[in-house]
Amino acid sequence: MTFVVKPRVRHPLLPVNELGLTRRDYEGSVSTLCAGCGHDSVSAAIVQACAELSLPPHKFAKVSGIGCSSKTPSYFLSHSHGFNSVHGRMPSVATGANLANRELYCIGVSGDGDSASIGIGQFAHIVRRRINMLYVVDNNGTYGLTKGQFSATNDKGSTSKKGVPNLYEPIDLVSMALQIGASFVARSFSGDKRQLVPLIQAGLMHKGFAFIDVISPCVAFNNHNGSTKSYDYVRDHSERLVSADFIAPGAEITVDYDSGALEDVAMPDGSTLRLRKLDEDYDPRDRIQALTQVQRSAEAGEVVTGLLYMDADAADCHDVLGTPSAPLNALDESVLCPGTEALEGVNAQLR
């Protein structure tokens, strides 16, 4: 960590977005994480994504649990709503926030301990309930705050900093999310903002539960040779499946000569998500194929990254529950409390 506060002065040519804000206006307070922590890069990617989307910071709810990852909402979007909750209980708070005000963009940041250990029950159920939010897991495979014990996502055979191997099978949150009904599932790497930023943008714009598992190396305890979540290992073993380019509404869609098959997906806000399949046979709309691919790659020691699965037409929790289109917190007393007559009507139905 550093004690030196980032100066407020900025580059004179820094781009200004549609709201007249620069990227710097989406930052938070100074990070107290270790120097070189992948989580700081994830925060920077969120800052960049939100600034480029020209989203108003006060329209965000950022929620988190406990852990290094869960400290990070302090480090981005300082002008938004935030709730740092109990360990593993961020999904409950996110659910409440989203139910009360469906107009907020909800970002949950959690870690492998917070989501795959103490909070695994909450994680499973928020996926099931399809809360309209972006759920980011900063996944470093270690308990950094308590000095480097193996976490539940640490790969079997991967070693601790002292060389002791992990004896247990890892929990793969991506597979879980695919299985239980997430309508947007991606995996990325904190050291690859070119991939991560468009995924965050797409996840924010996606209607339904968007999950991004971000491999985010712990420089202090899990960035050594025996680790499968180090900068070097991930760079050497990542296999990009589907790249996503986020194209804002009305922006000119330029022809990309790069490679692979292109597919444009219309997003609810009018923007376009351009998918570039690096493996022609892979279909990011096929949940079963996604599950199989993730498992196969894991077996081969590869880390698949990119947009793994997306159902653009999925229903979210509000659709399922049939709530009104106006946010619940905006409903006034006459609507919420329609009077004795209405109550008697309801009671009559139950007799």
Binding site: T2, V4, K6, P7, V9, R10, A35
Partner: protein, 595 residues
């Protein structure tokens, strides 16, 4: 792009914009840090070593460093570098122990310095500690040259001038004042081992217009008039005064007239306000003393009544921008104006002029009558004769005289040692010294201070206008000086990158407040400049490029607006970034820093 060679002394020197812009390459951030530590004496000596006249320059320098200051690019106003120099001079303690020792036993070489201005004095300062015998000749009754004769006391008090001039004279200069040099041949006959001409640009330009001859009694050449004020021959001026010219001499003339009793003083300039040669602050000071500056008025004719000047006829023109930052002028269509006046001070430029140098002594002159010199050695076509200051390359500022003097002194020393004055010159050099003290400790104050530039307090205006000897600027006190010193960005503490240590975690990219750092595939410079995190549009500032990293990318850092805040190094988990102070070694004799 090819990876940057940071071992090249010029690379990091250029990053220290102020030092790079300073003709004498004074290590500005270094002395500003000393001021912040209240080590005024050391700050003064660092200056003295490099520019020789810190107290004088802290009041009168043309400040080429300030427009170059990085803060102009990151915010707006530069650090008040010049006035901080004065803080060091005003608050210094006893410097005796810091001064170079002059050996009693001489080395047997005799050097003749012509003129006792800043250039000659600085040459004497550089050569004396090496045992040279120095003889100095000047026509004025005291040393200092134009610093004494042309800069009025309200800008440069006599005691400040004398302190720094006498310091050098007392190192053992054999000075002969009141000695009018009339012949170079005569000087050559004295058979010195080397000659240095530092006689300045003593001829003020005149203007031949109808009526000029008839009103001769009412016209003075600006620098001559200032000189006669400085030496006490002139103590008043009356009636309406017109100062013609737009340079610093014009500003000194008008402000001096105002103090010597002129009824009304007006500055009339043929060109536009923003292209006047006078420094911004000199113009501001003149105007704040109630002196109007009238622009775009070329003079046409002097009007007189039987030889008594009554006024000047001016044409009216208007400036048309030529697109290159200059103007051409065309008649504005307004009728000519007549401005009444009783006296004219002509401050329209000056020339280096050596009528006393016979044209057959072996010094070649160019078509503008300037001596032909080797720019690196300042040697004329006569091997024993060197030039420096205004007499070398035309009118410039004092700081140029110091810079020339260092060069010429090296040449003279090498020649007297029988060495090649070009090939044997000491090289430039750079040392890089890590500033890391602890996990989060740096030996410099890295934190960015966003204070605006502090204003220098001025003397009460009415009192100042009453007495030519009252200094207008009071200078920063120690407290304000400390505050202003905090604004310095420490551009000499460099961001040094070591490829082999980098794990490409992006921590530096994320934290950099100015978006200077990018990890990107390599490309040619023009393409790279457009593909960085923030566009690098300032081509005068370099891009620091690393060797290829394991991912096949390079690190590219735009030096343009880097705050040198050290956050990249602070956030780097592997010490691939380090903050290292670059010490630039500018070749110089008798260096205090080297000794």
């Amino acid at each position: 792009m090819k990876a940057t060679n940071i071992a090249d002394p010029n690379y990091f020197h250029k990053v220290v914009d102020c030092q790079w812009a300073c003709p004498a390459h004074t290590p500005v951030p270094d002395y500003i840090r000393l001021i912040a530590e209240e080590r005024f004496t050391e700050a003064y000596m660092l200056n003295w070593d490099s520019n020789v006249f810190p107290g004088i320059l802290g009041r009168t320098c043309d400040r080429p460093c300030e427009p170059a200051c990085r803060r102009v690019r990151t915010e707006e106003k530069p650090v008040a570098i010049c006035r901080l120099k004065r803080v060091a001079a005003d608050h210094k303690g006893d410097i005796a122990d810091f001064l170079p020792r002059v050996p009693k036993k001489k080395n047997g070489k005799r050097i003749c310095l012509m003129g006792a201005g800043p250039a000659s004095l600085a040459v004497a300062r550089d050569l004396l500690p090496l045992g040279y015998e120095i003889d100095m000749f000047d026509r004025d009754p005291a040393g200092g040259g134009m610093m004494r004769s042309q800069i009025p006391a309200f800008r440069l008090p006599a005691d400040v001038l004398e302190e720094e001039v006498d310091l050098i004279l007392n190192m053992g200069v054999n000075a002969q004042f009141g000695y009018e040099i009339t012949s170079m041949k005569e000087m050559l006959d004295m058979d010195y081992d080397a000659y240095f001409v530092g006689t300045g640009a003593p001829r003020g330009r005149d203007l031949e217009l109808p009526g000029r001859q008839e009103v001769d009694d009412h016209i003075s050449i600006g620098i001559d008039w200032l000189s006669s004020v400085a030496f006490g021959h002139t103590s008043s001026i009356s009636g309406k005064v017109i100062v013609m010219g737009g340079g610093n001499t014009a500003m000194d003339c008008c402000r001096t007239s105002k103090r010597l009793g002129a009824e009304r003083v007006t500055v009339v300039v043929r060109s536009a306000f923003d292209v006047m040669k006078a420094s911004e602050w000199e113009k501001e000071d003149a105007m704040s003393e109630g002196i109007p500056i009238i622009n775009n008025r070329p003079p046409k004719e002097f009007l007189h009544d039987n030889g008594k000047l009554t006024g000047i006829v001016f044409e009216c023109v208007r400036p048309i921008p030529d697109g290159k930052g200059r103007y051409r002028y065309e008649p504005s269509g307004e009728p000519d104006v007549v401005m009444e006046c009783d006296h004219v001070l002509m401050a329209i430029g000056q020339e280096n002029h050596c009528p006393w140098v016979e044209r057959d002594v072996g010094i070649e002159f160019d078509k503008w009558d300037c001596p032909i010199l080797d720019e690196d050695t300042l040697q004329s076509s006569h091997p024993k004769i060197f030039f420096g200051g205004d007499s070398a390359l035309g009118p410039e500022n004092i700081i140029w005289a110091s810079a020339h003097a260092h060069k010429a002194a090296i040449s003279i020393h090498l020649m007297c040692q029988g060495k090649d004055i070009l090939k044997d010159r000491p090289p430039e050099g750079v040392n890089l010294i890590s500033q890391k003290m602890g996990v989060h400790q740096w030996s410099y104050d890295a934190e960015h201070d966003d204070a605006k530039r502090f204003l220098v307090p001025h003397a009460n205006k009415r009192k100042a206008l009453d007495n030519i000897k009252i200094e207008v600027e009071l200078g920063f006190d120690a407290r304000l000086g400390l505050k202003e010193a905090q604004r310095c960005l420490n551009c000499d503490v460099q961001t040094v990158f070591t490829e082999s240590l980098c794990i490409e975690c992006d921590a530096c990219v994320d934290i950099c407040p100015m978006d200077c750092i990018t990890f990107t595939p390599n490309a040619d410079e023009p393409e790279l400049r457009t593909s960085l995190t923030a566009p690098a549009e300032n081509d005068e500032q370099d891009i620091y490029v690393s060797e290829e990293l394991p991912t096949g990318r390079i690190m590219a850092k735009d030096e343009d607006v880097c705050l040198h805040c050290g956050l990249c190094a602070e956030r780097c988990p592997t010490h691939a970034w380090d903050m290292q102070k670059s010490v630039i070694h500018t070749p110089q004799l008798g260096s205090y820093a080297a000794g």
